[in-house]
C-alpha cells in the first residue's frame, strides 16, 4: 500500500472523525432503504439488526483504527482527570517537580561531564603535569626545563605542547584592559585541531627564544574590545608591555581552557637557568594506537630520569597524564553525580507519591471499575485504561517539568554558581527533552502499574459488595500504600541526611576564620597592574607603590593602606621552599614550599592580623637596611618548637640561590588562610616590599572604620592620577572575597537542601494522603468506637500513632540508606564525618515530626466525626 496515500487517509480519518462517521451512517441507511425496497422484509430486518456490527467491521479496516481506540482511552482518561482537579493538579505538580529537577540536573551533568569538548577527537587529548616533593600537588605544574626534557623524550604523543593560563594587561586596544589569556608553544592550536576564523594560528618556530610576539584573539573580544576592526590582522597590541602582532581571530566557539579566555599568545622558550619557575601545563594529542597508560609509562620514565639528574630539586617525581576533559571538568564530578543521585531519589519519591494518590483514588473508582468489569471489560482492557491515565498524568507532568527545567537551566546559567566549568555547554536540547520524555513514560508506567494491577486483581463481585456495605475495603491496596509511603519516607530521609551533612559543613566552613580579624566589610582590595615597560626594575616600581600607598593613606575614610601580592582567603600569589640558617637537614631533603607574600608595613594592621611576638615591618625595612622577614605562627611552631624564632635567619632555598642573603626573623604573626577556608592557616613567611625584587602586580588593600566598598571610586581616581595606564581590577571587599570562596559549597548546599525540602514536602503529602484515606475508610468504625465511649484524644492518638508507625519504619530503612549514600558524599564534606551523629539524630527527628504533623490533620478530622452521622452513613 502506498505510504503517502495511507498517511493522508490516516490524517483525514483522524481529523474528520465526525464526517467519517456521518458518511458511514448515510451509506448504511441508504443501503438499508434500497435493500428494503428490493428484498424480503425479513432479509431487510436481519440486515438492519446487524448494522451496528457491520459499521464496527468497517471501522476496523479504516486507517488509524488502533490510534483511535488509544485516543478514546486518552479522552476518557482526560475526562476522569478533569473530574478530580485537585488530585490531577497535585499529581502533575509532584511529577513536574521530580521530572523538572531530574531533567535540569541531567542537562547539567551531560553538558559538563559528558558532552564532548569542541575539539575533534577530544578523548585523545591529554594534559601532562608534574608531581614531586616538595611541591606535593597531585596535578602540579611543570617548569620550562621539565617541558624541554619531556619533549626530548616524547614518543607517545604527536607533539608535546606547553601552556599557561595568565592574565594580560593589554594596551593598544580601545583602553587599558586586563584580559585572561594563554601563552602556549607553537603546536598548541594544531594539537587541539582548531581552525581560526580569520588569519592563522601559530607557525612552527614561533616558540623560539628569539621569535617575535604574536597573538590570536577570540571573536568575542575582537568584536567588543577591538571594535570588530576588519584590518585587525597585523595590528600591534601590548601584552604586559610586550608588543605582539595580531595574526588570527578564533571563532567564539573556541575558548580554551574556559570561556573568559580571550587571547592566546606565543610562549617563547627562553632556555631556563634553573628548574623553576613552575606554573606550566603540558598539552598533547596521543599518537594513533597509543593508550593513555602507555603515555603515562613514558612520561614517568622521563620524570625518573629528571629526578636522577636533579636530586636536589625533585623527590618522588612523576609526570601524571590525564584526559583533557577530566582536567577541564575538574573536581565537580563527585558533586554532580551526587546531584544526579539526589534528583533520582526525588523523582522516585514523586512517583511513589503519585502512585499513592492513584491508589487512594482507585478506591473512589472501585465501583465504576467493578461495574465495567462485570459488564465484560477484560482485566487487560481495564489495566490499559488505567495505564493510559497514569501515562497521561506523567506526560503532562513531564511537559510541565520541561518548562521547570528550562527555567532552572536559565537561572543556573545566569547565576553560574561556583564557576561551574563548561556551563556554556549546558542547555535544554533534544537529548534532554528525550531524556525527560523517557523519564516521564518510565515513571508513568512505574507508578501506574501497581495501582492498575491492583485494580485488575480485584474481584468485581467483592468490590461491589464491599462498596455497598461500606466495609473496610482493599486490604491489599492499603498494604501497598503503606509500603509506598514507607519507601517515600526512607528516601526523603536519605536526602534530608545528605542535605543536613552539607548544611553542617557549610555552617562550619562559614565559621572558619580567614585569619584577618578586621570586620570583613571594612577591608577593600583591588588588583593594580602597572605597565611593565614603564617600571623595569625595583628602583622604579618601589617608589611608584610608595606613592600609591601615600595617596591611599591620605584618602578620607582610609585608616590603613597596604600592598600585598597574596590575600585571604584564597588568593595565594606565590609559594616557595626555604632553608633556616643552621638547620640540620638530611642530605637531599628540603623544607616544603610555603606561602611567601610580599607586603608593605601596614598589611597586618589593615587586615587585623595579630602580632604574636617581635615587631611588624616599618618604613625603615628598605633596600638599605638588613633583610628581614616575618613568619607565621604555624611556621614558628613547626620549625622552632622550643626556641624563640626572633633573631633567627632564613631564606628561599634552591641551588641557584646560595648567594642570596639570609633574612632575619623580626616578628611572628597570627595564621592567615591563603588557599581557601577549607585548608589550614598557611605556613608563611612575609617579606617587606621595599627589600624585594618586585613583581609588577600586587593588590592594594585598605581598611576603613566602616564599610569600605564606597572607597573604591576615590582610590581608583588616586591611582589613575598617578599613572593613567595602570590597570585596576578585582575590586572586592574581604566580605565579598570570603563569600566568593565558598560559592561552590553554598551552591551544593542550597541545591541538595532544596531537593531535601521538596522530598519532605512530597513525603508529607504522601503520608497525609494515606492517613486521610484510611480515616475516610474507617469513619464508621471510628463512629462506633466514639459511640462506645472513646474520647477524641484517644482517636487522635490512634490515628497519629498509625502515621508514626509508618514514619518509624521509614526511618529505620532511611537511616540504613543514608549511611550508604552519605559515604559517597564524604569528599564534599568539611569538618563533618559522613556518619555525623548530630545529623543522623536530627534528620529522623525532622522526618518523624513532619510525619506526625501530616497525620495530625486527618486525625483531627477523625475526632470531629459525629457518631450518629457516622453510623447512619450509607
Amino acid at each position: 500500500m502506498d505510504k503517502l496515500v495511507y498517511l493522508s487517509r490516516l490524517w483525514h480519518n483522524l481529523t474528520h472523525r465526525q464526517k467519517v462517521e456521518r458518511d458511514l451512517d448515510q451509506e448504511m441507511s441508504t443501503y438499508l432503504s434500497l435493500l428494503a425496497e428490493e428484498s424480503s422484509p425479513r432479509e431487510a430486518r436481519l440486515a438492519a439488526g446487524g448494522i451496528e456490527q457491520l459499521k464496527e467491521q468497517v471501522r476496523e479496516v479504516k486507517a488509524g483504527f488502533i490510534m483511535q481506540t488509544i485516543l478514546q482511552d486518552v479522552r476518557y482518561g482526560w475526562r476522569m482527570l478533569r473530574r478530580s482537579p485537585t488530585f490531577t493538579v497535585v499529581a502533575i505538580l509532584a511529577l513536574a517537580l521530580g521530572i523538572g529537577a531530574t531533567t535540569t540536573i541531567f542537562s547539567i551533568v551531560y553538558g559538563v561531564l559528558l558532552r564532548p569538548l569542541p575539539y575533534p577527537g577530544d578523548d585523545r587529548i591529554a594534559m601532562v603535569f608534574n608531581h614531586f616533593s616538595p611541591q606535593n600537588t597531585e596535578h602540579g605544574t611543570l617548569s620550562i626545563a621539565d617541558y624541554l626534557d619531556w619533549k626530548k623524550g616524547n614518543h607517545a604523543f604527536e607533539s608535546a605542547e606547553l601552556f599557561r593560563p595568565d592574565a594580560f594587561d593589554v594596551t593598544g586596544g580601545k583602553e587599558p584592559d586586563r584580559v585572561q589569556g594563554v601563552s602556549a608553544t607553537a603546536g598548541f592550536f594544531s594539537a587541539l585541531r582548531v581552525q581560526p576564523l580569520m588569519g592563522r594560528g601559530f607557525l612552527p618556530g614561533e616558540d623560539a627564544a628569539n621569535a617575535s610576539g604574536v597573538v590570536v584573539v577570540s571573536e568575542n573580544w575582537w568584536r567588543t574590545s577591538l571594535a570588530a576592526d576588519p584590518g585587525i590582522l597585523g595590528r600591534k597590541l601590548n601584552l604586559n608591555g610586550v608588543p605582539c602582532t595580531v595574526v588570527g581571530v578564533m571563532p567564539s566557539s573556541f575558548h580554551f581552557p574556559r570561556p573568559p579566555f580571550k587571547l592566546w599568545t606565543n610562549l617563547r622558550l627562553i632556555p631556563p637557568k634553573r628548574r623553576g619557575p613552575f606554573g606550566w601545563r603540558g598539552l598533547a594529542r596521543l599518537k594513533p594506537g597509543v593508550t593513555l597508560a602507555q603515555a603515562q609509562m613514558e612520561t614517568n620514565g622521563i620524570a625518573r630520569q629528571i629526578e636522577q639528574e636533579h636530586p636536589m630539586e625533585y623527590h618522588h617525581m612523576s609526570m601524571p597524564v590525564a584526559p583533557l576533559r577530566d582536567e577541564i571538568v575538574g573536581n565537580v564530578r563527585v558533586a554532580f553525580l551526587a546531584f544526579l543521585g539526589a534528583v533520582f531519589v526525588l523523582l522516585a519519591i514523586a512517583a511513589a507519591n503519585v502512585a499513592c494518590l492513584l491508589l487512594a483514588r482507585a478506591t473512589v473508582r472501585e465501583r465504576e471499575i467493578a461495574l465495567r468489569a462485570s459488564l465484560g471489560a477484560s482485566s487487560g482492557r481495564l489495566i490499559r485504561q488505567l495505564l493510559t491515565e497514569s501515562l497521561l498524568l506523567s506526560v503532562m507532568g513531564g511537559a510541565a517539568g520541561c518548562v521547570l527545567a528550562y527555567l532552572g537551566i536559565a537561572a543556573l546559567r545566569a547565576w553560574n554558581p561556583g564557576n561551574l566549568p563548561r556551563i556554556e555547554d549546558v542547555r535544554l536540547d533534544g537529548l534532554a527533552l528525550a531524556f525527560a520524555l523517557l523519564v516521564s513514560v518510565a515513571t508513568g508506567i512505574l507508578f501506574g502499574l501497581a495501582p492498575a494491577f491492583q485494580s485488575g486483581r480485584d474481584r468485581p463481585a467483592s468490590s461491589l459488595r464491599e462498596g455497598g456495605r461500606g466495609g473496610t475495603a482493599g486490604t491489599g491496596r492499603r498494604r501497598l500504600q503503606a509500603v509506598l509511603v514507607m519507601g517515600e519516607l526512607a528516601l526523603a530521609l536519605v536526602l534530608v541526611t545528605s542535605a543536613g551533612l552539607l548544611v553542617r559543613s557549610f555552617v562550619l566552613l562559614g565559621q572558619v576564620h580567614s585569619g584577618a580579624q578586621a570586620p570583613p566589610e571594612s577591608v577593600l582590595s583591588m588588583k593594580i597592574s602597572p605597565i611593565p615597560s614603564k617600571y623595569r626594575n625595583s628602583d622604579q616600581i618601589i617608589p611608584f607603590y610608595k606613592r600609591v600607598l601615600e595617596r591611599a593613606q591620605a584618602t578620607p575614610g582610609v585608616t590603613y593602606a597596604a600592598i600585598s601580592d597574596s590575600l585571604p582567603p584564597d588568593r595565594q600569589y606565590d609559594y616557595d621552599t626555604f632553608v633556616i640558617q643552621g638547620q640540620q637537614l638530611a642530605p637531599g631533603d628540603i623544607n616544603p614550599a610555603v606561602t611567601c607574600p610580599i607586603v608593605s608595613p601596614d598589611y597586618f594592621r589593615s587586615l587585623g592580623v595579630p602580632l604574636v611576638r617581635g615587631r611588624f615591618f616599618t618604613e625603615h625595612d628598605n633596600g638599605d637596611a638588613p633583610p628581614v622577614v616575618i613568619i607565621s605562627e604555624s611556621l614558628a611552631r613547626r620549625y622552632f618548637p622550643n626556641d624563640n624564632p626572633i633573631g633567627r635567619r632564613l631564606k628561599a632555598s634552591g641551588p641557584e640561590l646560595h648567594d642570596t642573603p639570609f633574612m632575619e626573623i623580626v616578628g611572628v604573626v597570627g595564621g592567615v588562610r591563603y588557599t581557601g577556608l577549607d585548608s589550614d592557616p598557611a605556613d608563611a613567611y612575609y617579606q617587606p616590599y621595599a627589600q624585594t625584587l618586585y613583581y609588577q602586580r600586587t593588590n592594594l588593600v585598605v581598611r576603613s572604620n566602616g564599610p569600605a566598598a564606597a572607597l573604591a571610586p576615590a582610590l581608583r581616581r588616586e591611582i589613575r592620577a598617578l599613572d593613567p595606564d595602570t590597570v585596576i581590577s578585582d575590586v572586592v571587599t574581604l566580605e565579598e572575597a570570603l563569600g566568593a570562596s565558598v560559592v561552590g559549597p553554598r551552591f551544593r548546599t542550597l541545591l541538595v537542601g532544596g531537593f531535601a525540602l521538596c522530598a519532605l514536602l512530597l513525603a508529607a503529602i504522601g503520608i497525609y494522603g494515606v492517613i486521610a484515606y484510611s480515616v475516610a475508610q474507617r469513619t464508621q468504625e471510628i463512629g462506633i468506637r466514639m459511640a462506645l465511649g472513646a474520647g477524641r484524644s484517644s482517636v487522635i492518638g490512634q490515628v497519629v500513632a498509625q502515621g508514626l508507625r509508618l514514619a518509624l519504619a521509614g526511618t529505620v530503612l532511611g537511616v540504613a540508606g543514608a549511611l550508604f549514600a552519605t559515604r559517597l558524599l564524604s569528599s564534599l564534606l568539611f569538618a563533618v564525618k559522613a556518619t555525623d551523629v548530630v545529623t543522623f539524630a536530627v534528620g529522623p527527628l525532622i522526618l518523624i515530626a513532619v510525619a506526625a504533623l501530616a497525620s495530625f490533620v486527618p486525625a483531627c478530622r477523625a475526632a470531629m466525626v459525629d457518631p450518629v452521622i457516622a453510623l447512619r452513613h450509607e
Binding site: M1, R9, Q26, E27, T30, Y31, E37, K62
Partner: protein
C-alpha cells in the same frame, strides 16, 4: 453458491477485490449496486454479503484504489458511489493478470493427471 466471509483466505480476499474492481470498471456504483453487479457478472455464482462487501470497499478506499463520490440513489436518497481511481485501474490490471496466471496454472495442474 459461495459465501465470502470476512476472514477468507488471501486468495479469496484477492478474488473479492478483483470482483469489486471489475464491477466498477464500467461506471461508479453504490454498495448494493456493486453487490448486484457482481452477482450479475458472475452469473449468480458469487453473492457478496454486506459483512464482506463494506469492509472490503472501505479497505480499498483507504488503499486509494476507490474514491467516493456522493450521488442520488434509485429511491432519491443520498448514496455513496464508488469509482475506480487511476491506482485502482492499475490494480485491476495487475490482479487480472495475476488471476489469469494462477487459473492457467491450476487448470494445467488439473489436466496433468
Amino acid at each position: 453458491m459461495s459465501e465470502l466471509a470476512p476472514k477468507t483466505t488471501n486468495l479469496l480476499q484477492g478474488t473479492l477485490d478483483l470482483l469489486i474492481l471489475r464491477a466498477l470498471s464500467l461506471e461508479p456504483l453504490h454498495g448494493l449496486g456493486i453487490s448486484r453487479r457482481i452477482e450479475q457478472i458472475t452469473r449468480g455464482t458469487f453473492q457478496v454479503k454486506p459483512g464482506s462487501l463494506f469492509p472490503a470497499l472501505h479497505r480499498m478506499e483507504e488503499a486509494g484504489w476507490l474514491a467516493p463520490s456522493w450521488g442520488e440513489s434509485e429511491n432519491n436518497r443520498k448514496a455513496k458511489y464508488y469509482r475506480l481511481t487511476a491506482a485502482g485501474r492499475r490494480q485491476a490490471q495487475t490482479e487480472t493478470e495475476e488471476w489469469q496466471r494462477i487459473s492457467l496454472a491450476i487448470a494445467a495442474a488439473l489436466q496433468a493427471t
